[in-house]
Every structure is written in C-alpha cells, then in structure tokens.
C-alpha cells in the first residue's frame, strides 16, 4: 500500500479507481477519463496533486545556491511571485528532476518537485547545500489542488481566503500569490488556464468539496496525462530522466546559458552535447494510420529504426493518437511507428497539440 494524500477518503467516496503512483495511492479516474479530460478543456476540472512536494528554500545564500543547482536562472525572477520552470541536472547533464520555483521575496523561494523523486531531490539539494547559509524545508504539511480549465479561476475565486482573493485574481500567468496560510499559483500542467493551490492539509477536504459544489469535475492521473501530452509538456521519468537531459527532450528553452559565467550543475556536459550534430531531437507525432501509439514503441523511417516513443497515447481532443518521441536529427516530415510488429504511418508535428482548448496542429 502506498501513502495517502489528505484527500484520499474523498477519492474513495467518489468511487475513484486507485492506482500506485510514485509511492502514493492516487486516483486514476472517477469513472471516465475522457469526460474528465473534456471537463478541463471546456469548463473546469481539479486534480489532487498533494503527492507533489513543495520545498521552501530560504536564507542569505538561497539565490546563489539555486543559481548553481538549477539549469534555468532564478535571477530572472525579478518580480515577487514570479515562477520559473527548470530542470535540476546532474554533472553528466541528465535530469535529477524537473520543477517549478516561485520567488517569494529576496532569498526566499518555494520549489515544487515530483512525487516519485521528492526524497531523492531533497537529498540532492542538501548534499549540494553543505556549508551554505540557507534552510531547506520540505512542506509535508501542505496539500495541493490544481484547478484547471477556462472556468477554473472564476469557480475558485469565491472559495479563496479573503486575504488572498484579490491578489490571486490579478495574477498574470506563471505568477503566484500568498496569504497567511495559502499559496496560489496561476500555473498548471494541462495547457489551460487555472490555479495550483497549496494549503494546510487539514483544510484540503473542505476546499475539495466546495469545488465539487461549484461544479468543478474531479479528475485523475489518467486525464492529467492526456492533458499534459496534448499540451506538449514533458513527464519526468518518461520523456527525460537521470540519463537523458534537456537538450534531447525538448527542454533546451529552459536552459539559461547567459550569463556565461554562471556555473550551474550539468553546464559543462551540456555545452559539449550542444555542439554534437548527431544529437537526437525531440518531436511530436500525429498518427495518420489507425491505432494508438504507446511508450517505448519504435519510430521507423523506411523500415529503419530512428528513434523511440517517450510518451504516446490517445488524444481525446483530437480523437487521434499522438506522441512525443526522441529521434535522429533530419528524418524528414513523416515516419512510421511500429505498433504490435506493424509499421503505422505518422507525421512529425510541433507540440503543443492543444492549448487553451484550441487544436494547434494540422490534422
């Protein structure tokens, strides 16, 4: 049995199908994954993401520490509340984890890391923080609910504490605001507008129920995966991992090369790989033949293996199968995916597939 979030009994009462995920027992769906997916694209859905771990890093060395620890540069966070997506790399240029970091004030940051990697991440941070004047505090006392969709913010607004409501509603995308006990980010993992709300664990069931009463659809990990895939967002452990770094997983945009003298962990290895003309590229695929692409299937061109599917599945919005794949450079515009021994035609496309409810590729 895995760990239970503060909302576990809510999931059980709603009849969720529970599956193990990153050491936790989490809802896969509450009936229909596809209906949950559409609720987020068309109105509002919510996810219990309390298995993810907020980690507060504070102290006079906090900024200089994070500028070495993270491949993106927290010095970009000039305005209070601004958020940044970054990889945390190992010296070989592989990804220890991907995370979001919010600036809360001078030398005050909150990172949110993945569930399955949280313990590894915190050990990694502590190892690299030795001797630095800062405090690393995992916030196991917080629950997290992501409310996502075009109507998410409006339906959440009346449920926010008064000390936070106005500030939360004025947030620009990729900013966060906080009150005495709650933290709200205008962030997410679905390609839709919405909030991610961190709050004291004991208050989470009440907010969850109030969101249900406001017509927000509970959604499980299944819909979370198809939504993020349509949005072209990476999943740690699938699209990148300790061995495969950001340059080969479509995350080059998250690397802050300037200033040139910022010596982040992994920089040297990535500098070499960056100049390698044989470096694999990360692409989106739309299956033009029949079937469903799955993780680890082979990508072929004229029968020759040129790469691998890292995330494949069925897109409920497109009603087609889509995928993210890592392939050799310069393979052209079409390929095949080997599905149960048979090559099925596919086309290379540029993710995202879907953003803000709109299809963003040619079908």
């Amino acid at each position: 049995m895995g760990r239970h979030t503060p909302l576990y009994s809510q999931h059980a009462r709603l009849g969720a199908r529970i599956v193990p995920f990153g050491g936790w027992d989490m809802p896969l769906h509450y009936g229909s994954q596809i209906e949950e997916h559409h609720a987020v694209r068309r109105a509002a859905g919510m996810f219990d993401v309390s298995h993810m771990r907020p980690v507060d890093i504070e102290g006079e060395d906090a900024q200089s520490f994070l500028r070495r620890l993270l491949a993106n540069d927290v010095a970009k966070l000039q305005s209070p509340g601004k958020a940044l997506y970054s990889c945390m790399l190992n010296p070989a240029g592989g990804v220890v984890d991907d995370l979001i970091v919010y600036a809360r004030g001078p030398n005050r940051y909150r990172l949110v890391v993945n569930a399955g990697t949280a313990d590894k991440d915190i050990a990694w941070m502590r190892e690299h923080a030795q001797g630095a004047a800062l405090d690393i505090r995992p916030r196991d006392d917080l629950a997290m609910i992501a409310v996502q969709g075009p109507e998410a913010r409006a339906r959440t607004e009346p449920l926010l504490p008064e000390d936070l409501r106005a500030a939360a509603m004025q947030l620009q995308p990729f900013f966060g605001a906080e009150g005495a006990h709650w933290f709200v980010g205008r962030t997410g993992y679905t390609g839709e507008d919405g909030f991610e709300i961190m709050l004291p664990a004991e208050q989470a069931p009440e907010l969850w129920q109030a969101l249900i009463d406001a017509g927000v659809q509970p959604c499980g990990l299944g819909a979370r995966d198809t939504l993020r895939l349509e949005a072209g967002m990476n999943l740690y452990g699938q699209d990148m991992d300790d061995e495969i770094g950001p340059l080969e997983s479509g995350l080059a945009w998250t690397l802050a090369w300037e200033p040139a003298d910022r010596d982040f962990i992994g920089r040297e290895a990535l500098t070499k790989l960056r100049q390698d003309p044989e470096r694999r590229v990360f692409v989106g695929l739309l299956l033009t033949g029949r079937g469903v692409i799955r993780n680890h299937q082979k990508v072929l061109v004229e029968g020759r293996e040129v790469g691998e599917i890292t995330s494949g599945g069925f897109s409920p919005t497109l009603e087609r199968s889509i995928a993210l794949a890592r392939v050799a450079p310069g393979i052209g515009d079409t390929c095949e995916v080997e599905i149960r021994g048979k090559p099925v035609a596919a086309r290379l496309v540029k993710p995202p597939f879907v953003r803000n409810g709109k299809i963003r590729i040619d079908l």
């Binding site: 596809i34 299944g222 469903v292 799955r294």
Partner: protein, 130 residues
C-alpha cells in the same frame, strides 16, 4: 458488481459468447473487462473469413490506458466483425453485451461451447482476481 447476463457463456480471459441459434456465435468482452480497461478508443477486429484457433489472440482493444488482446473463445471461422466499432469504439463501454459486440464466428464444433464458463463460474474467476 458488474452486469453478467445468465444466458451467455464466458472465458477466463473475459470474453463473452452468445449462441445466435443459427450456427454462429457472437463474441465481445464482459462488463467487468470494459470497466477495468477504461475508456476504449480503438478496436482492431479480425477480418471475415479468418480461421481462428481456440484461445488465439485475434483482436485488440485499446483503451486510454493500454492495449489488450482479445482471444477467440473457440476454433472456427470469422463471419463478420463489428464495423461500427471503427467510429464508435466506446460502444464497448456503454453496451458491452449489445452494440459493443466485437465479432461473429462459425465454430468448428458447436459442442465446444459447453466447455466454456457459465455466469456463476465466470463471476468466481473475477472474484479470485480481485
């Protein structure tokens, strides 16, 4: 508890079989199976005329989660596949014993039907898996 019509026969691999009374059988997957698979988004059914062995993998049902093989409950020849599943694969979710049927087969030996599970025996298979 999922729906288990008593007039049907079943397999350990979660197919149901209906005797059409005209020398043909209709095959689909059980309510329990569709529920476990989740939303079904693609079906690859066998072509008419294909000869099947008993327990041969002959169709694939893909849900949002994963692909699952469908096995022929008994030996015979495929008469017809359910063409409507191409456009509405979710009929397997909404009507597993009706519109969600997968294929019809003319069995080589109709008496082999008696060796399949009845509803009570299948229910026990499901309970033992849980």
């Amino acid at each position: 508890m999922s729906d288990l019509p008593s007039e049907l026969r079943y397999t350990k691999t979660h197919e149901w079989v209906k005797d059409n009374g005209d020398g043909t059988l209709t095959v689909g997957i059980t309510d329990h199976a569709q529920e476990a698979l989740g939303d079904i988004v693609f079906v690859e059914a066998p072509e008419a005329g294909r000869a099947l062995d008993a327990e041969e993998a002959c169709a694939v049902v893909e849900s949002v989660k994963a692909a699952s093989d469908i096995y022929s409950p008994l030996a015979g020849e495929v008469i017809e596949a359910n063409a409507t599943l191409t456009d509405t694969p979710d009929a397997i979710n909404t009507s597993p014993y009706g519109d969600g049927w997968i294929f019809r087969i003319a069995p080589a030996d109709m008496s082999a039907l008696d060796a399949l599970l009845d509803a009570a025996a299948y229910e026990k298979v499901v309970e033992d898996e849980a």
